[in-house]
Subunit: 142 residues, 2 copies
DNA sequence: GATACATCCTCTAGCTGCTAGAGGTTCAAG
DNA sequence: CTTGAACCTCTAGCAGCTAGAGGATGTATC
């Protein structure tokens, strides 16, 4: 029987976050002591590890909900899990492409700054005038 | 004299967002008509373009606040603007590195999935057991 | 059995950066 | 003068947590 604190340490998830996962139905309601404190078993530890690892790989909580559901039904075909992972991969690739364009632009800004007064600062100038950019970049909402 | 809608179209910023920027003090309070509607001038259009462009380059609203302040004082040395841009560049590079590790892992997961039942799905298996990962990856909070 | 104190509990509010909607007013064209 | 698009304010919501108040519990030690 594990306390929430132990679970927290074992998975690297904050105590508050574990309670939050329970609240949104991602973690099941655990057993309680007479005094009302949560006690977990190993299955729940595994589940939290799964969640945590999926988060590290960038999956949304909604995607994780689906993945957990699939994981709970070993006899279903796994196309769906595969599709979710592919979707995630695609997203990651898109984000990388956008970041690449940003990096180019930022590098250029920084390299051209000559260290004078803000009045002639290349960094600020570029921000003032998008037409000075070589690449299209659209980071907002990434 | 520009309406908020015109400003919105010219900069690609939603009307609500412009009002939000005003609320948090990023945009100045504009003049108003007798009836209470906002009217902007070109200086304010420029300012919003600056904000918008900076957002596209991934700067936080706090960073933009600093950059705007620097831009308003052309006689100060521009080291600071340069530092903010360098910081941003560093962040972008860190995020790219993290995404790269993720991509590797996701690719591997997807390629190894043989299309059977969820019980033997490689995707789910990897999520269950971090030790199957080749790389360290820590996306959370990216 | 008493005491200390770390850990637990619930609840509310806050973070970033918007976005959406309700319910009502103003402006400009015809 | 009427219509209808665009404006106004206000509140609440999104993801995914995180922090803090104010109090109860569990366990180790004496």
């Amino acid at each position: 029987m594990l306390t929430i604190g132990t679970l927290s340490k074992k998975t690297g998830t904050k105590v508050q976050t574990i309670r939050y996962y329970e609240q949104i139905g991602l973690m099941p309601e655990p057993g309680r002591t007479e005094g009302g404190q949560r006690r977990y078993d190993n299955a729940q530890l595994d589940r939290l590890s799964f969640i945590r690892h999926s988060r590290q790989l960038g999956f949304s909580l909604d995607a994780i909900r689906e993945l957990l559901d699939l994981s709970d039904h070993p006899n279903r075909p796994c196309d769906e899990a595969d599709a979710i992972a592919r979707r995630q991969l695609k997203q990651v690739e898109q984000r990388m492409a956008r970041l690449k364009a940003l990096r180019t632009e930022l590098k250029r800004m920084v390299h051209e700054c000559s260290g004078g007064r803000t009045g002639d600062c290349k960094v600020l100038e570029v921000l003032r005038d998008h037409s000075e950019c070589l690449t299209e970049h659209e980071e907002i909402g990434a």
